[in-house]
Amino acid sequence: MEVAISVRGLKKTYKTYSRGQGVKSAFVSLFKREFKINEALKGINFDIKKGEIIGLIGPNGAGKSTTIKVMCGILHPTEGKVDALGYTPWKQRVEYAMNFGVVFGQKSQLEWDLPPNDTYHLIKVLYDIPEKTFERRLKQMVKLLQVDEQYLRPTRDLSLGERMKCEVIAALLHQPKIVFLDEPTIGMDVVAKKRLHGFIKKINQEFGITFIVTTHDMSDIEKLCERIIIINNGDIVYDGLLKELSKTHLKKKLIEVKFSEKTRVRLPKRCLLISRTPYVLKFEVPVKGDKMDKFVADLITDYPVVDITISDPDIEEIIRDIYEK
């Protein structure tokens, strides 16, 4: 499949100033300021194929927003190359902008004092969208996302969830080839989230639009993305399929055992107790290679077990483990 975005050796360093507390340090900082060089990105490499929905995740301050901002042409990197649809984002800003859309959950694209509809009309002329096409797309999208009344009200009067839906429309009206979604479901209820997930999948399949999603909400990732990139401390720590993540990074299984009579089991040291009642025992057991821990097999033969459930920890937990490493 064709590559939409290719990133090679991307580095970004920031200079941040700091000063201590109190009048003295405030005075000193007037003449001599202390600064620190922060490495937001330490030379990352990845490719995104056309038509993919990819999840870019990482803890706070990991560098994912910096990556998105460089890919949008907002930030100039310190080093490295980005080829997005043949453009260098920060050098060919105007030409490249025609081809992508972006939603920043924290920074509205919509003007606070104006109804989203006014911004949509500005988008129409700036992106050269023919009048009829514009009307058709707008009608379709406001209906699909259920904001057919809200988009005519000033943005300041909308709820966060309604505003986010209107933001998504603003990013998609010109039918871009790439869409960056940074925290797109912020402030949305579960129904609205589900609707947005469906909407993104639909237009991804219909028009082959590439989506790059960053979020802290794992349900977005699980519903939308096949492939994820995990960034931590400015480095990529995982780049692969979501379902492969549990295979490669799964270090434990969750075991729940039910007994037919009151039973007390002594857990070996390598197992971690989660909860215990006379009839039910829950614990974690480490995974080594392909074999299940011998203790689990012994448990079935040695105790009056009526039921046993073996499950993987949820994706959020696996990712948390990776973050904490």
């Binding site: 949008c72 105007v94 920074k107 509205s108 104006l114």
Partner: protein, 266 residues
Amino acid sequence: MTFLRKVLGIGRWQYGFEVAYRFNRIVWASSLPIILLATYFLWTSIYAYSGQTIINGMTLNELIVYYLAVQITIMFSASMVDAHIPRLVKKGLLIRYIVKPFNFVLFWFIRSVWRSLFRTFAVLLPLFALAFVIIDFSSITFNIPGYMLSVILALFLNFFYIFSVAMICFWVKEYEGIRVIRRGVANVFNGAIIPLTFFPLVFQKAFSYLPFQYMLYVPIQILLGKYSYEQSITMMLIQLMWIIVFALISIFAWKKAQAQFMGVGV
């Protein structure tokens, strides 16, 4: 054709801002005649007290026309870019405009012109309603075509000058102090507070080497017929020269500023 569609589209969008807070706009529009009236009373008593009919080459009537022209010219040619861009930079909201497929400097210029047109249109009626009561227009020969040309040049000059200064906000983060100084300096040196003929000759000479008087004072002098035909042409050529200087600075500064932008808080 598509460019014209874009210009009109930006105008329609800007109009939304103008009517977003109607009450505020009406209060603001009615404040201008009040200021003009106060100026009228102030200068009437100064002329009466001095016992002269002409001060620094201007009659009372001419001076009031001068202040009326100051208000209209500022309304038409001033730009708001250094009130808007620094705020957007500080809050990280400038990304809205950076991700749009349009030349950034041109976008803000078009927006600025539309804003000037809407606001000038909004204040003309209340201002002239008062002006016809306190001013005798028949005693002055106006050079309206000359003024129109010069005021359009002033519009360009103001925009590029203010845009150039506004670019400082990418480095200093908090720009408000610079804006206050920028406006204060301009208002003294461009003749908005008092006509430049009221300054000593040395100052007047010095002002002619600075860009400020070409943003306001010069178009008004042309309107009031203070310059000969040749002088007017020379003045407009100087305006054009300053436009080129600040347009080049604007484009260069914007190039440098983009690399500085952090897009905070995203």
